[in-house]
């Protein structure tokens, strides 16, 4: 009953990576268990994201990724374990989740809700338009009328409005054309490089995630199966087979032989 323990040994633990970020963690998840009724969605999962680090969380549908995200964001309470966020985490939710009746400007401004005690200046959206200039032209458009890619951009902008230490991106590529996904990925890279913004990217598209992030976790059936530097994971036969379409093999049997 300890596939996750053995899996953790496949790759060396956090720290042995080339980009050598500061060790100060922004997200620490320890032994988190999430249950819905009697079903266990997440089973004793540990995960860290250090300041300025880009970390991917990959895995098949229903592996518990979204549950973990909700726990990190404080939207659900884990049954056991602890989640600590040092500083502020902002979420780019799965499926964008904008406020469709409100315009882009208001969607962005509401992203600064955690900073509401700091007054009107914290709600100034110019800093987002500087980073995502495409949004400036859309500022008066109702969010519900935008294309998927534009909406994802607004979701990014809204998350940035909270001045986060770490951006949690739930399904960057879902439902978007590859070109648009690539553009958004570039934005993420830039934000990380220029501002030292840490990123936790939850992706089904493992190739994209491993390409974008320096370190990755593979979540399967509620447990961390593998973790390590992205490069190492990309080279791992197991990951390649299951997630990178290396062998034309469907997700297949999992866990028991690991």
């Amino acid at each position: 009953m300890s596939p996750s323990e053995t899996a953790r040994d496949v790759a060396s633990p956090a720290g042995a990576q080339d980009s050598a970020p500061a060790e100060r963690p922004v997200i620490t998840v320890e032994d988190v268990v999430i249950r819905y009724g009697t079903a266990t969605a997440v089973d004793r999962v540990g995960l860290t994201v250090a300041a300025g680090e880009t970390v991917a969380l990959i895995g098949p549908n229903g592996a518990g990724k979204s549950s973990l995200v909700n726990a990190i964001m404080g939207l659900i309470r884990p049954a056991a374990g602890s989640v600590r966020v040092h500083g502020r985490a902002a979420l780019v939710p799965e499926g964008r989740q904008l406020f469709p009746e409100l315009d882009v400007e208001d969607n962005l401004r509401l992203g600064a809700w955690p900073l509401r005690s700091q007054g009107a200046k914290a709600r100034d959206t110019t800093r987002v338009y500087e980073v995502l200039p495409d949004l400036a032209d859309l500022r008066r458009r109702r969010a519900g009328t935008l294309s998927g890619g534009q909406q994802q951009m607004v979701a990014f902008g809204r998350a940035l409005m909270a001045d986060p230490e770490v951006l949690v991106v739930d399904e960057l590529s879902l439902g978007l054309a590859p070109l648009i996904t690539a553009a958004l990925a570039d934005h993420l890279r830039e934000l990380n490089a220029a501002r030292g913004l840490a990123v936790l990217l939850i992706e089904q598209n493992a190739r994209l995630a491993l390409d974008l992030c320096t370190r990755a976790y593979v979540l399967e059936a509620g447990r961390i199966r593998i973790e390590g530097p992205s490069r190492q994971l990309a080279d791992s036969a197991e990951v390649a087979a299951a997630y990178l379409g290396g062998a034309a093999e469907p997700p297949g049997p999992e866990g028991d032989d690991g």
Binding site: L75, L91, F99, L110
Partner: protein, 287 residues
């Protein structure tokens, strides 16, 4: 002609009350999905409180404002009972607000007895187009217009108003950006209480209120609100005004005793018409 003006203005004044009540219902429903059966009670509480404060010697203006704040506090309490406990469905919350209406009856009878109460509003009258019109009508219309303007500004110009709109638009997203949706629901209940309170203090000088006036008030407020599907303020306001005028016309030209029947029949017609536009599938999908 003079009769018509008379009925129109008095109908608009009463309709302002319905419109305010309807707006309160919409404000609460948008954020919480709860149809607040205690909405009429807020008006009763404010109207009776204002009367007591005035007879205790408080000046006009102060008494009314205190009464509206009292209604707001009542709204907050109703909200805590209706949505404070996690997992209370909107349907259960409706029954809870019904229960609180009973509790309010008990308290109101203890404080004010079971007789209708009123208090004098703005005295005097003016003659317009041959119609003899109480000044209170115009005060009601003016004050309600100010109230609506303030409400509109609140929702379109303030950050808190925007956050309430966000909760209505997408509760999950609201939580994702860190908005506490339950707390916003309580804000909505407080605001709904104050709107009901404004209706109460404005209308009480026109028609006296007793503890059980709330049933007719809530039905009229609901009739106004249902025009916009309980989610839009504009139609709720217009609906309230139209209802007030329709009732006034029926009472004036036909028979006073049929005025509420007309309003209720109108409401039924609108609801059934709206229902024929939406199937059960729509509604359950929207849940």
């Amino acid at each position: 002609m003079s009769e018509f003006v008379q009925y129109l203005i008095s109908g608009l004044a009463v309709g302002c009350g319905f419109a305010l009540l309807g707006s309160g219902l919409v404000t609460i429903h948008r954020v919480t999905r709860v149809v607040n059966f205690a909405q009429g009670m807020f008006a009763v509480v404010a109207g009776l409180t204002a009367g007591s404060l005035l007879s205790a010697g408080l000046p006009h203006g102060v008494a009314e404002i205190v009464a509206v704040l009292a209604a707001g506090a009542t709204g907050l309490l109703v909200g805590i009972a209706a949505i404070g406990r996690r997992g209370t469905s909107p349907q259960s919350a409706l029954i809870i607000t019904l229960g609180i209406g009973f509790l309010a009856y008990a308290i109101e009878i203890m404080i004010w007895g079971d007789n209708p109460h009123s208090f004098p509003g703005l005295g005097g009258a003016v003659d317009i187009a041959g119609a003899h019109l109480q000044k209170q009508y115009f005060l009601v219309i003016g004050a309600a217009a100010l109230g609506f303007a303030a409400l509109g500004l609140f929702f379109t110009r303030t950050y808190l108003g925007k956050a309430l709109g966000a909760c209505a638009s997408n509760p999950y997203a609201a939580r994702a950006v860190g908005i506490n949706v339950t707390r916003m629901g309580l804000v909505a209940f407080t605001l709904g209480g104050m709107l009901g309170g404004v209706a109460g203090v404005l209308v009480t000088p026109l028609q006296s209120l007793s503890y059980n006036s709330d049933v007719l008030l809530i039905t009229n407020g609901f009739a106004a609100a249902i025009l916009g599907g309980l989610n839009r303020l504009g139609p709720a306001m217009l609906g309230g005004l139209a209802l007030g005028v329709a009732e006034s016309m029926v009472a004036g030209y036909y028979k006073a005793s049929y005025q509420s029947v007309v309003a209720l029949a109108l409401m039924l017609a609108v609801m059934i018409w709206r229902a024929s536009q939406h199937t059960a599938l729509h509604e359950e999908a929207a849940r």
